[in-house]
């Protein structure tokens, strides 16, 4: 169809949408009157209303046809299969009577028993019906209509509908297929008909990859020919239920949230004749669990968006049944697995009925459960654990009603940190309580987490570290949070203490658990039972950096594992290598991104790791949207490879970490990462990317050109009374803004001439704003015979303690 025609159709469809609803109301009102529901009517009134009702129906038919046509035209090639022979048989039945009424001889001869084409069955029937309708309508009494189904030389299926009627107009027959075209000679006979029938036929033919044409029939009337490519008939279209072939394989998937549907869909793509069943306890499938904090804050307004495909299809049970051909049993609990019998005992949660569901292969995607510490008051009303749509709904409802203003989040891990922003955005006062000495333990080192704490506090969030919640108090509903030190008010509490793998079902079935307590799997995602796989938040992972078992539940991992498991279920060979604990999260204006081991995690594992701290702009500093990021690298001096990386700041952090992930997976030493040919233009990075700079600083340290020392170490040395010189080499201007206690200030520009002011028998620790100038200073000092010179990592910018003369820290 010409682009112009398509656009016209689209505009008409928009208008039809607008007309549809009021027109429907008009018809309902007319029928309310006609039905006598609003009082009795005279016969004359009834007669007029009946004709109004008839006209309304005509208009609604046009609207429906137009919408159907527009939908068909806009939807592109169809991949659904329908049997044209079956459609003709049904159409024949429908038109037998109207034809008999006009004494028309209607013959249908089918050369093919079945003829499958790409079309929706209902749509194909409509198109065939439109052709027969036309033929019967435009053939005078006593005439003939012949329908023939055969094949062409090219192997296409050909449908011919010929009649002995008024025939086609002399002009261009192509016009017949234009929307709303009705030939002059047709107008003379009938005034009804939407004028869309033949356009619809053409759209159906085109969507099926074929075409239509029209001409004069042997009987002197019109003949319409439709030629469509044949496609194989699917088994279930042909066979009745009783002789349906045995499925090639029975796969049961327990869990319908993230990894489970992925397994099911991939299995169906690889093994179209498999019988796949998803068993899910909840009522909803496949929601984006990680999106829940954004749903609560209103950034994602509609709950349905979380369970929709990007094309807007709701991933409800029907979506999986119809589109993916996966059998879905929601509100159904898997009670027990019997590995010997290869069967799962399932229970319908509504009726309580139980039955055994046999499987050849079983996939466990049962997810994780929130850890709810057993402390007094934890079951009070308005104490939530963010897990699942129902909790999110509860929290959201609470916020919407203005019921909660003072909210305490227990746990400074990912869930807690991500929730905080949502709640502040919703206008709440938030207190974040963490038992350990920093936010995001296990994810960041202390000094990086401290940047985050300061950012939180600048946004009005109260952060209580080293604080243990011992209980909650309230009369039915939570009113107070009790910690070891104090009691403070709260009208809602969110527990973000963490999650644990849901392993009960697996454990009962004798499936082996790993050292982390999650289900042990090999790289094929296979459990200790060869026919049972486990994926997602219930499964254990391998840390690719250390090779040790780890438990890092993430939606991204679940999706990858789901695919791997499906391939292996279908007899293929795919492996999942492991994870690097890569994490990214958005916290107000900051991004936190990290991978691999932190400095403290490396130390716990016996590495004598070398670290760097390099603050810098995320793109050329002169670009208006340049923003700071602080990069911390952790490297193994023996291999010169990265062990981990952390990035915090308002700038673009994720892409630097992504490059590090790829480099680490490839086993590159920092020397090679430092020269990787990464994207460069001033809008995206500096000539040397932040990762390049960090790697170069790391190389300087590894090669002994630069000795670094962390700010925390400097402070400890000072607290312990060690004798050293803290040398500030920044400019006078910078020095005026903020300075460190006891620091000697000699700007880099005059350092050479003032060397005499520095002692040669004491360690010198130099720093500048980000310690780039300090590195220069250390080289000058070393060349002049100063033996013990170190550079404070990250400069004053990374000094996490109080400073003198500081006005406002941003």
């Amino acid at each position: 169809m010409a682009e112009e025609e398509r656009q016209e159709l689209e505009q008409a469809a928009v208008a039809a949408h607008q007309i549809k609803s009021p027109l429907g109301t008009v018809q309902t009102i007319i029928r309310t009157l006609l039905g006598g529901y609003a009082g009795d009517l005279s016969d004359k009134q009834k007669k007029f209303l009946q004709s109004a009702d008839g006209k309304c129906s005509e208009a609604l038919d046009t609207v429906r046809d137009l919408l159907a046509l527009a939908e068909l035209t806009g939807s592109g090639a169809s991949d659904v299969v329908a049997d044209l022979a079956a459609a003709l048989r049904e159409a024949h039945d429908r038109f037998r009577e109207p034809a008999a009424e006009k004494d028309i001889e209607l013959t249908v001869s089918l050369e093919l028993e079945e003829a499958c084409v790409n079309a929706e069955p209902a749509v194909l029937l409509q198109a065939v019906g439109a052709l027969l309708d036309n033929a019967v309508k435009y053939t005078p009494e006593g005439g003939r209509v012949r329908v023939e189904l055969g094949t062409t030389d090219e192997g296409n299926v050909r449908l011919r509908v010929a009649d002995s009627g008024i025939g086609l107009p002399g002009e261009d027959v192509e016009q017949l297929f234009q929307p709303f075209y009705r030939a002059d000679n047709a107008r003379k006979i009938l005034t009804s008909g939407t004028g869309l029938g033949l356009s619809f036929v053409r759209a159906v033919a085109r969507a099926a990859g074929g075409g239509v044409s029209a001409g004069k029939s042997e009987m002197g009337g019109a003949e319409f020919r439709m030629s469509l490519p044949l496609v194989p008939c699917p088994v279930d279209l042909r066979a009745g239920e009783e002789n349906e072939p045995e499925p090639s394989m029975r796969v049961v998937v327990i869990g319908g949230v993230a990894a489970g549907p992925k397994v099911a869909a991939k299995v169906m793509r690889l093994e179209p004749h498999a019988h796949v069943t998803i068993v899910e306890k909840g009522r909803v499938l496949s929601y984006a669990g990680c999106g829940l904090p954004y749903y609560i804050s209103g950034m994602v307004e509609d709950q349905r968006e979380l369970i929709s495909t990007p094309e807007g299809l709701v991933r409800g049970p029907e979506y999986f049944e119809k589109i993916k051909r996966v059998h879905v049993m929601n509100r159904t609990e898997a009670v027990r697995i019997d590995p010997e019998r290869h069967a799962v005992l399932i229970k319908d949660l509504l009726s309580g009925e139980q039955e055994w569901l046999p499987y050849d292969k079983l996939a466990l995607a049962v997810g994780a459960l929130p850890i709810v510490p057993d402390i007094p008051g934890v079951h009070l009303d308005k104490v939530f654990a963010l897990h699942g749509l129902q909790h999110a709904e509860g929290i959201k409802a609470e916020l919407a009603e203005g019921g909660a203003k003072d909210i305490t989040i227990v746990g400074g891990g990912l869930i807690g940190v991500e929730m905080t922003e949502s709640l502040v955005a919703a206008g709440c006062r938030v207190t974040l309580v963490e038992m350990r000495s920093q936010l995001l333990p296990n994810i960041l080192d202390w000094e990086m987490a401290d940047l985050l704490r300061r950012h939180f506090e600048s946004k009005g969030v109260r952060v209580l570290l080293n604080t243990k919640v011992t209980g909650f108090e309230g009369d039915g509903r939570v009113q107070r949070v009790v910690t070891e030190e104090s009691v403070f008010p709260a009208d809602m509490v969110i527990m973000g203490v963490g999650v644990r793998p849901n392993v009960e079902l697996a454990e009962d079935a004798g499936i082996e658990l790993g050292p982390t307590g999650a289900i042990k799997v090999d790289e094929h995602m296979r459990t200790s039972d060869a026919d049972i796989f486990a994926v997602g938040d219930c499964a254990e992972n391998t840390d690719m950096v250390t090779g040790e078992a780890c438990y890092v539940p993430l939606g991204s991992t679940a999706a990858k594992q789901g695919r791997v498991a499906a391939v292996n279920i279908c007899g293929g060979d795919d492996t999942f290598g492991g994870v690097m604990r890569t994490t990214v999260c958005k916290v107000f204006d900051y991004t936190v991104a990290r991978t691999g081991l932190t400095e403290s995690q490396a130390a716990e594992r016996g590495y004598e790791a070398v670290t760097t701290l390099t603050p810098g702009y995320d793109r050329a500093h002169f670009m208006p949207d340049a923003a700071m990021i602080i990069v911390k690298l952790v490297a193994d001096p023996d291999t010169r490879r990265l062990l981990g990386m952390q990035v915090v700041g308002p700038g673009e952090a994720a892409k630097r970490v992504d490059v590090a992930v790829a480099s680490m997976a490839a086993g590159l030493p920092v020397d090679e990462i430092a020269n990787l040919d990464l994207c460069y233009a001033p809008s995206y990075s500096d000539a040397l990317d932040n990762l390049h700079v960090a790697c170069n600083v790391m190389r300087n340290k590894l090669d002994g050109h630069m000795r670094g020392i962390s700010p925390m170490r400097v402070r400890r040395m000072r607290d312990e009374g060690e004798d050293f010189v803290l040398l500030d080499v920044r400019t006078h201007e910078e020095f005026e803004q903020a300075r460190l206690e006891d620091a000697v200030h000699i700007p880099l520009s005059v350092l050479r001439s003032r060397l005499g002011e520095l002692p040669r028998d004491k360690p010198i620790i130099a720093f500048s704003r980000v310690s780039l100038s300090a590195y220069e200073a250390s080289i000058i000092l070393q060349s002049r015979g100063f033996d013990d010179v170190r550079v404070m990592d990250g400069g004053i910018l990374m000094w996490p303690y109080s400073k003198l003369g500081e006005q406002q820290q941003t």
């Binding site: 549809k20 609803s21 009021p22 027109l23 429907g24 109301t25 018809q27 309902t28 009102i29 029928r31 309310t32 039905g35 006598g36 529901y37 609003a38 609604l60 609207v63 429906r64 919408l67 159907a68 939908e71 806009g74 929706e120 009522r283 909803v284 509609d302 709950q303 349905r304 094309e311 807007g312 299809l313 709701v314 409800g316 049970p317 029907e318 979506y319 049944e321 119809k322 929601n330 509100r331 509504l350 709904e393 409802a397």
Partner: protein
Amino acid sequence: MDELILVVDDDVALVEAMTATLESVGYRVATATNVEDAVEAARREPPDLAILDVMLATGGEGFHLAYDMRRDNRLAHIPIIMLSGIHRRTHFRFSPDSDGEFLPVERFLEKPVDPAVLLDEVAAVLAEHRDGGADG
């Protein structure tokens, strides 16, 4: 027959027509044209059945209303007939048979609804609910 039916649709003319139909056979009718009024009306006197338009003013509001009712202990038992427009672009249609738990309603009726059909469905749903109401 004095069951109370709550009719919710943002099309006032349609609400009036449905009200006339329902009242003509003896039902009592409460009406609302937005979600807030609907919730208030339902809480004031819980109806025996609710008829909701799926779209209302902004897409899907009726859907949310149905969810809200199912979560509210006082309203959770009320059967719902949902009215939906005649066509959706995606070919994706809800049906209470396969989607009962996901979309918790008793019936889906396509607009325009014939008054006789509406009365039949209302009577059928009320009857089913009376029979099945003992355990719920």
